[in-house]
């Protein structure tokens, strides 16, 4: 079953906001040999009782099915939603991109940033830190372009995602 082509899936997992829950989820992925391409977590309820974990994973369909089932049976997990299977949803990530340079390179960096709607959030005479957000591909593309104009370092949030429309899934 592991020889089928791999698919990328974005999972949204609602969990009790308790110590050890993140370790439980991450440990499940490593113990069973599942991939984690990115992972984000933050508490999302008024009373701080529930966190949303967004995991981007990849694997053949039967493995994805197992991942969902394995997550679902963990005691502190409220719900597991496979947004990729669910359908219309929005995925975003944010990156902070530091670029150093003077002269033409500096001008070019600003110009490219403008095209990507990346905002300078820190500026010195020799550097910028840009804030860029969007799909993973867009962020990747921006970072690739910045390499040519003096990329120094990058920090990324990883993907957060939510279903489209008026309803909570």
């Amino acid at each position: 079953m592991k020889h089928l082509p791999s698919e990328r899936h974005t999972l949204s997992i609602l969990v009790d906001n308790e110590a050890g829950v993140l370790a439980r989820i991450v440990g499940l992925f490593s113990a069973r040999g599942y991939n984690i391409e990115s992972l984000t977590v933050a508490d999302v309820s008024d009373d701080h009782a529930v966190s949303r974990i967004t995991v981007v994973t990849s694997g053949p369909p039967p493995v994805i099915e197992q991942i969902l089932a394995q997550l679902d049976r963990l005691v502190p997990v409220h719900r597991v939603i496979d947004l990729t299977a669910y359908g219309p949803h929005v995925e975003r990530e944010m990156a902070l991109v530091k670029v150093a340079g003077v002269g033409d390179k500096r001008v070019e960096a600003l110009r490219l940033a403008d095209i990507f709607r990346a905002r300078p959030v820190d500026t010195s005479t020799a550097s910028f830190v840009f804030e860029v957000s969007g799909s993973t591909e867009k962020v990747n593309q921006f970072i690739t372009l910045m390499r040519e104009v003096g990329l120094v370092e990058v920090a990324r949030t990883g993907v957060v995602a939510i279903a489209r429309g008026a309803e909570a899934v």
Binding site: G27, L28, P62, A69, D72, H78
Partner: protein
Amino acid sequence: MGTEMTGADIVVQALTELGVEVVFGYPGGAVLPIYDALFQQNRIRHILVRHEQAAVHAAEGYARASGKVGVVLVTSGPGATNAVTGITDALMDSIPLVVLTGQVPTHLIGTDAFQECDTVGITRHCSKHNYLVKETAKLGPVLHEAFYIARSGRPGPVVIDIPKDVQIMKARYAKPGTIAHKTYKPQVKGDLAAIEAAVDMLAAAERPILYTGGGIINSGPVATQLLRELAKATGAPVTSTLMGLGTMPDDHPQFLGMLGMHGSYEANMAMNQCDLMVCLGARFDDRVTGRLDAFSPTSRKIHVDIDRSSFNKTVRVDLAIQGDVGSVMEDMLKVWRARGHRAADQKAWWEQIKGWRARNSFGFEQKGEALLPQKAIQRLYEMTKAKKPIISTEVGQHQMWAAQHFGFHDPNKWLTSGGLGTMGYGLPAAIGAQLAFPGALVIDIAGEASIQMNIQELGTATQYRLPVKVFIINNEYMGMVRQWQELNHGGRYSESYSDSLPDFVMLAQAYGWKGITIEGPDDLDAGIQAMLDHPGPVMVDCRVAKLANCFPMIPSGAAHTDMILSAADERGEADDDAKALV
């Protein structure tokens, strides 16, 4: 609301309210307050083991034999780490346990304090769930919730780590009402449309088979009754995994015996050739499926399981029904009757099965001086069956021979470590079962190597006057390892000889047990009789043929149809792919 109590008193009070009668444990610094609370009451009996691993196996044996939750109490650090093998064993075999571990006081957590270990970290992936309780007020609710989680859905071990200050501090405690966990709600009822589809498939099948497992025992004795009714209604042959033995009576005409690596020829051939497989509370383990791409290639498959993650894990099925197998079988029978189904004509199928049965794959011939281990177990069965004994085992050839040659007629009478295959399980498990059923005949069928892994528990049986019997199939080898070396590694017996064995009779006597030796076929019956006649604990050192192999066998990575039935089919040296498999 509630009464103000120390954490330790809350533990004892909650356990009492939860109906706990026996706790298996071992004291230490981090649990002294709980031991002090136990000392001052007489509702819960504490059984002092000699090693924390044995406390967990004893609780497993108690739980499997009685259907109740087994309870363990150990100290922090080494107490907790010693318990880890048992906790993992319980997870693999779906045994409901609550394991209480002491922890250093909350303000010292994370400082490498004396006997500190990260118990929740260590047990996170070998428990069904675990807790670190940091406030005394939470102790009561956590205990009640832990029991609920341990026994509901797919049962398993739950660990509660309790820092020492939490045991000493006071909080209000009141017995909670019914526990409904906010997120953990296992599905008990199966989907009716799926059940109807399953019933129609069963009614139409020409070559059906019921493949049953430990889930039926987990579900409770009613599920066993329902399985027998379902077998009767459908007329289908039934096979069982190692973990499900006893759910069908061994001598039932529709029972094909155990399937899998050391299962019967007829069970494995019927699994291979069936047109419809109905898996009831079993999990398509690799010991059962053999080579996956050759596993029952042409059948349609229905899988009933309470745990969604068991579906399509290794084998794709056509119809998955999530729910308690007892409840689902009950609904299946209702639908079957409501639709007026009758067992389909399976004459040709049973003819085929008869042919496979005629191979007599568990057959053996006792001749010559050396006692065959199969013979020893067969006689042990025949001489004890009227007493409806509870049998535990260690791990190895003797375990498989026990599964093949000891006939089981009821559930909860067979205690064995299947998933983890833990040597050292059998003696403490027998002790646990004996505590649940003081009047029962409880026998650990052991190997001379395995028994040494928790041999210290002889003392526990003596202390509590438990008349446990240990029947050692002594072949002077780690026989199962030796067999694999013979089959796969050219007969190079690397480190598998049981050298420097103790004199088991003297060892037994040193612990206050009776010791008996059976030297060969001639004193077999007398030895078993002497064991049965002695009212106290007995250890029997039964000397058997040293080089006997356990057949039939599906070698690792082979298909059901490539079963080795006798020594004549052995391969001697395996290729690297096969050697890489376990």
